[in-house]
């Protein structure tokens, strides 16, 4: 493996086929909605738009980015589509491409998505000046599967309350995995796996956390300070971004990527039309598997895909006797501080 520093390609959605970017000779860099960039995105787009999209755009406008060769956006929702549009204006020097993402996880969608990913491979090859090969992509998939495996080991430790640094440390590791070259990320994770387990702190109430974006490690400290033990998560800046991509017999590598991405735990924007309203059942199953006493949902304000599905999720959990607390964030710790009372009251309620 070459030791020269690879150029970086930015991305902002967990549906991005990261191993493909890696295989194409780039280092995938997730542009996380962190930092102190001033609020300017609202003027370029609109104020009442997903804070995740706005914070990412703010970083571009503030030049709070490493040097990027280009950015791969995904058409996962309206706000992301607008982000891609705004980016072309904010950073005209970047190469930008938009990967189309089907709305459902049906077989026909997987096929279509594999063709889109194939097209992306062509675009990345053009940018790089060398053709990316299926074998290289397979190797990258395995490397990222290794990252997923290490993260799973650490998540399991967290669920037992024995991960040094707790949920905040776990989020730091997720963030590192998302922003560091795969080889380096693997080293960091293997080191963390090698650390001894910490002493378990009992008395914390087991809670399952789902939603979309929550990248601030501090937010997880807040949950733990309020008495919650995060025994499982379904967030796109957490577990959802790092799932193993398995191989089906005889399937080509593009189909493998497409299926691996579309069939992983879903963002609310993806659904199976034959099972409308099923997100609640999926969340319930995951929460029960972790023996969670309650579920905390954390989503971005103005998120249409999640807003539309939450009432049914809450109902499904309620029917199963599991209370749910819904929090809306804006990617700053400002909003999390206000949530403290809600989180504490929720934990007190769970008893």
């Amino acid at each position: 493996m070459s030791h020269e520093k690879k150029q970086m390609i930015g991305y902002a959605c967990a549906y991005t086929p990261v191993p493909l970017i890696d295989a194409a000779g780039y280092s995938p860099y997730r542009i996380l909605p962190l930092g102190d960039s001033p609020d300017r995105a609202g003027e370029m787009l609109h104020d009442n738009l997903c804070p995740h999209v706005k914070r990412v755009l703010d970083r571009a406008l503030d030049n709070d980015l490493p040097e990027l060769a280009g950015v791969v956006f995904v058409n996962c929702c309206d706000a992301m589509r607008r982000l891609a549009d705004a980016w072309r204006k904010a950073r005209p020097e970047h190469k930008v491409t938009l990967l189309d993402l089907p709305a459902t996880d049906e077989e026909a969608s997987i096929l279509y998505f594999s063709e889109e990913i194939n097209s992306l491979a062509g675009t990345l090859s053009e940018w790089r000046g060398t053709q990316v090969s299926p074998e290289t992509i397979e190797k990258s998939i395995e490397r990222f599967n290794g990252i997923a495996d290490s993260l799973n080991t650490l998540k399991e430790r967290l669920s037992r309350g024995v991960l040094e640094g707790g949920a905040a440390a776990m989020q730091d590791l997720f963030n590192t995995a998302a922003t560091t070259a795969s080889g380096d990320a693997l080293s960091v994770l293997e080191k963390a796996v090698g650390e001894p387990e910490s002493v378990s702190k009992n008395h914390a109430t087991p809670v399952f956390l789902f939603g979309n974006v929550l990248a601030n490690a501090e937010a997880f400290q807040l949950f733990e300070k309020s008495g919650a033990a995060i025994v499982g998560d379904d967030l796109c800046t957490g577990s959802r971004a790092f799932c193993r991509i398995e191989a089906l017999e005889g399937e080509d590598v593009m189909m493998r990527l497409a299926r691996g991405l579309l069939r992983r735990p879903k963002c609310a924007r993806t659904f199976d039309p034959s099972l409308p309203g099923n997100l609640g059942d999926e969340i319930l199953a995951r929460a029960q598997a972790c023996n969670a006493k309650g579920v905390i949902c954390h989503t971005m304000k103005f998120c249409d895909p999640y807003n539309a599905r939450l009432p049914r999720v809450r109902e499904t959990l309620r029917e199963a006797g599991i209370p749910m607390l819904a929090l809306e964030g804006d990617c700053t710790m400002r909003s999390m501080g206000q949530q403290r009372t809600r989180i504490e009251a929720f934990i007190e309620m769970l008893g």
Partner: protein, 263 residues
Amino acid sequence: MYYLGVDLGSLSCDAVLIDENESILASSVVLTGARNREAIAGATADVLSAAGIDEKDVAATVSTGYGRDRVERRTAAVTEITCHARGVTALLKGTQVLIDIGGQDSKAVKLDGAGQVTDFAMNDKCAAGTGRFLEAMARALEVDISELSDLDKGASGDLTISSMCTVFAESEVVSLIAEGVEVNEIVSALNRAIATRIVALVKRISPSINGNSVAMSGGVAHNAGVIRALSAAMQTDVTVPPQPDTVGALGAALIAKERSRQG
């Protein structure tokens, strides 16, 4: 043995002292102002001297309210949601839904028969539906906030304030006054505006509120007009316990007693 509850809110710091039988020995409401420490000390000193007991006889203290972490001599800090639930159940047995409209936020809490919280919803982002809304309107109407309670008398109830936002609603009220609209109609519309916000909050935790036993606490519980509008909107009676301002501190004191058992 005695147990102390301290509720440090944005407007007032309330303290309640109870004994082993859970009888209220004394209560105090002090303006918080800018100096939390002094307000806490003042309210605490008030109840101790009124009950004639010494600080060292207080077995446990629970603090609540947004400033609960600032009460130094506390056994535990518990949120106002949990404390209000306990407090109101002690005063009004069988309460199923509690509505608390404070200066800066409003809450709807669902209770089981024993004062335990089973669900809750809060509005702390927007002034509409809180005491702040009424303060702004009282200013626009050039009346004291305490006068608002019965100013809606005789109104036909046909007027609606359309603005969602407190700032715009204030402008709307100023325009209405300039147009010569009667004060009672305006106040009636304002009461209904608050009721609409609160009902939306209540429905989140209790979709079929009709027939539930509903209680109210918080500063706005002194406003009979708002209570009337709430009852009408929910088609259910709203009961205000005696001393609605100290419900949170009472709940905190009761929890203090509970926690000291657990040692």
